[in-house]
């Protein structure tokens, strides 16, 4: 199972969402879909569309900046981070 690390701020928006979750391998898009099936609302917060992350949401797979199509394998660590932004 791949490990997903989620931003604390997301937990304030999605009831019950943990900081870490285990998911099946696939792509980043499929990982987010798995999370959304278990904790509805995650996808709306992270994705601008089915094909794109929101501009200030950064996803890293095994330390490398990822996109929705990036593969996630069973040993991967996926980190979802909120970029420097706001004012």
């Amino acid at each position: 199972m791949a490990q997903v690390h989620l931003p604390t701020a997301l937990g304030a928006l999605v009831p019950g969402l943990p900081k870490r979750a285990e998911v099946d391998s696939g792509t980043v898009s499929e990982v987010i879909a798995q999370l959304n099936a278990r904790w509805p609302g995650v996808a709306a917060c992270l994705c601008a569309s089915r094909e794109a992350l929101r501009p200030h949401i950064n996803v890293y797979v095994d330390g490398r900046r990822a996109e929705m199509t990036t593969p996630v394998n069973a040993a991967s660590v996926v980190r979802v981070l909120t970029a420097v932004s706001g004012g």
Binding site: A9, L13, G41, A44, C45, S49, E51, H56, I57, S85
Partner: protein, 352 residues
Amino acid sequence: MVLLGTKKGAFILESTVGRKQWSVRGPYCQAWPIYHTVFDPATKSIYAGGGNAWFGPGVWRSDDLGETWSQSGEGFSYGDDGPRIDEIWHITPAQGALYAGASPAGLFRSEDQGKTWQHVASLRAHPSCPQWTPGAGGLCLHSLIVHPDDPQHMWVAISAVGTFESTDGGQSWMTRNKGVRAEFHPERYPEFGQCVHKLLLAADGKQLYQQNHCGVYRSSDFGAQWEEISAGLPSDFGFPLALHPRDAATLYVVPLNGAIEGRYVPDARMVVWRSTDRGDTWTPLTKGLPGEHAYLGVLREGMAVDALDPAGIYVGTSTGQLFGSNDEGESWQEIAAHLPPIFSVETAIVEG
């Protein structure tokens, strides 16, 4: 209660019927930028629409007068080929449903108290949509009226686009900008492209008013024709508009010095202007408002009335002051001085 949307969350201010002493609580909604906070008297819920830089547009709901909140952005999308939605600008509860206006402009409807939202695609299907061009405030749908006696009869207003009317519950839309100037446009009176800043329907259900980038206007035929009523005001430029809760002839505006002159109150004196004759004549209201060195601005949703008698009037500034009057504008007090920039002001009467 006075409900505020600010750059750093929603706030709730509470008082008794006399409206002299106020308490402030907030910020709510994780200090998101909140463009509109509104009370639904039918369900006693509070809704707050906004969006933050990371997680996008959302509507927050509280069923306990602000103690606890839940958020949903489910459905705020124009599809994979459409523009990305950044914020929710306006929420209107209407006869069991909720409507939300977004930026870039579009209309959404919820039938489950804001848990999920459906795009009302007819508005962006209007033939003018490809030519909608944002102004400095973006392309926000900030005014949304559902006629209280006829839910099929609706109006929306979009900055830098203008006013639309629907008589079939939002299935089709017609531009309603005749008689409204657009001085920044190559045509002075185009079919659309007018920069409406606030659109409201009076208590009689007949009289429409709008504060525009280029003047204040009234329409007595549901928007088919507009008549300018700016004469007597110090400027034709301003953002907010408020209407008396019972008298359709009484309205309030806060003119600013001009679109390219700094956008603060003329001569740095805070003045609310009132008309009691549908805009034929205007009276300045100043008692208790700062009379010098007041470089204040008020945004599109920044003024509201309450339904008490005499009516209360509330004005929130883009630098975080909230002024209130408990006597229809005759006298004012500063209710709060150091809030975040205020985007919206609404009121609610709650039995306590």
